[in-house]
Symmetry: C2
Subunit: 384 residues, 2 copies
Amino acid sequence: MPEKILDDISHRRYNPLRGTWLLVSPHRTKRPWQGQQEVSPSKNTLPEYDPSCYLCPGNKRAQGDINPDYKTPFVFVNDYSAVKEEQAEYKQEGEPKDLSSLLLRADAVTGKCYVLTFSPSHNVTLADLSPAEILPVVHTWTQIYSAHLSPKSPLSAISVPKTVTRAGNAISAPNAQYKWMQIFENKGAAMGCSNPHPHGQIWTTTGLPEEPTLELEQLMKYRHEHGGKSLLTDYAKLEMEKVERIVFQNTSFLVVCPWWATWPFEVMVISKEHKRALVDLNEAEKLDFAEAIAEVTRRYDNLFETSFPYSSGIHQAPLEGTDEEIEASHFHMHFYPPLLRSATVKKFLVGYELMAEPQRDITPEQAAARLRDCGGELYRRYLV
Amino acid sequence: MPEKILDDISHRRYNPLRGTWLLVSPHRTKRPWQGQQEVSPSKNTLPEYDPSCYLCPGNKRAQGDINPDYKTPFVFVNDYSAVKEEQAEYKQEGEPKDLSSLLLRADAVTGKCYVLTFSPSHNVTLADLSPAEILPVVHTWTQIYSAHLSPKSPLSAISVPKTVTRAGNAISAPNAQYKWMQIFENKGAAMGCSNPHPHGQIWTTTGLPEEPTLELEQLMKYRHEHGGKSLLTDYAKLEMEKVERIVFQNTSFLVVCPWWATWPFEVMVISKEHKRALVDLNEAEKLDFAEAIAEVTRRYDNLFETSFPYSSGIHQAPLEGTDEEIEASHFHMHFYPPLLRSATVKKFLVGYELMAEPQRDITPEQAAARLRDCGGELYRRYLV
Ligand SMILES: O=P(O)(O)O[C@H]1O[C@H](CO)[C@@H](O)[C@H](O)[C@H]1O
Ligand SMILES: O=P(O)(O)O[C@H]1O[C@H](CO)[C@@H](O)[C@H](O)[C@H]1O
């Protein structure tokens, strides 16, 4: 394979999903590390219920609300929402041609922020859960997404079973039509997570944010230039032929360390067929998606025998958009984990990365090989 | 001021230098913080000379080289360079129209990486140095930049005094003509710095990286649409009228928390007049630049009475480029510091930021007011 040489030389790889480049320096992992180390509790010593945790069932939250005694994923509006449904009006002054309007430009943003607990147990993570236990999380995501879809979206015609709504869940029609819903999780203190209780967030805004804008542009361009085909369907097919970047797959989903991965053990969960959003997945496909999440998070924990930090997020069709934008969207999930060498040494994306271009050390092929090799039971099950 | 309302509502601000947006949520700093805290030694307990430091004068480095007994900034080729001058040849196979060439695209990169110590003393930082002591660093940067300029660049005609070259400094003509030189510093363990000895890095590559590409596009567009004027000259003028985002200024340089700052206390050092690169600065302007760096780093340390972590970097004209690219370049320096609330609580740019769009909590105006207020002597001078 002529590409084998990329294990040894510095090169740039192109990310066709964002239209950007990154620098790969495979020989760099040889340098010694004398820098910051993460604190890593390798054994889980958390209680199943923590009376001081604002996410545990029955506990009081910051604004005084009491969590119900929930058994399945529980959703509420973030007590410290980054965007809100109501706020004072703001309209930028000045003529559009004024220097001020050009160089000091602002737009108001409204929206809604939810918190979603994955389990009533304080001391588990997605890695501890089976696909069947993750499935209710996927159902709840689908339901929230569906409840916020524009009535004009072709996706809004797809009916979503409401079986998972429980008393206390705050999923309700929003005050305004928002454009984008970002479902994400910050897992672990190294990724800014301030509460170990398993949970994710959902931020919904009037504007289409930068990352989905970049991806949507690239997806639409590819679709246009390739007779209506999806970049990610073609990419998934190519990776299934090449094999070397595959971490795991089932009938509906492919898990790869993408060719253009920035983070050391970054993976992408891609729907093999063209699905636009969560609502496009049938029950079997949702379970396949839950299994893919279980496989990624368990392998992550097994890799360095630690509760592996990461940020993950789902990219799918905007809540409101042109038909072309919605049709070009391709459902997928990103996992960005910072650890590089061990449970305590992470990769810093700092000076060069911030000022010039993202840079990685080990190749995505090396990362995939290691993640392929650490499937099986969760390492913690064997610890006494 | 109608913009006062932006202290209270969520909004997006436009970054005209990158052509991108970010989300600002000023009310969010009210939330309590239970997450990761940085370790912060508030008193400097480092020795002036550390026998185990590979950057101290007279010590041995990783590949066996011995540092000279240097007194002024000392430059050497990074023992673990991310890019190298020589490596095996790589040319991507396949027709440009093949799916593989499109979706698994790579280019070889060569280049040269330098390390530059700012001082022989192990236990100082830029914040401890006077403008006159920082000036030799500016001279060395200028000299390295000048030594790598393409002979075809209009900038290569400008002569740079060679007075600062010392025995041992490894500044030499590169093997190939590189396009971009990224001068940067990672300061502090929180920014991935593995050695407290004051130093920065210089990475030089065959390709133009992502960030300078974005900025150059925007600068060229503005120049084209505004009769040859520089976006940053106009921006600096506007900020001098508005005042509220100014941290410090002298004759040649303006230090602002830019309207579009992402990091909590991000600042930008902008040349008030249109300067394309380090070589365009005369001696007085170089001293003004050194003073601006001294003012930023000292204020940073004073803010939370800690050795403040940051990544900084210089953006200027590419080493090789079209006349238009070189003329549109506007010399400036970015400082990206992660601390938000105190010496131990940082802002994490994680889930939402990585998946959707950068998000900040305090406004740049609030940040500027605080940095304006903490000039004066370095706090450490008063500690016993
Ligand atoms: O080159 P250093 O100091 O070993 O490494 C540091 O800076 C580099 C350039 O920003 C980063 O790629 C590394 O992650 C960081 O630890
Ligand atoms: O919302 P949290 O968990 O309080 O906060 C965390 O996630 C947010 C969204 O990625 C970030 O803006 C914060 O910096 C991070 O600490």
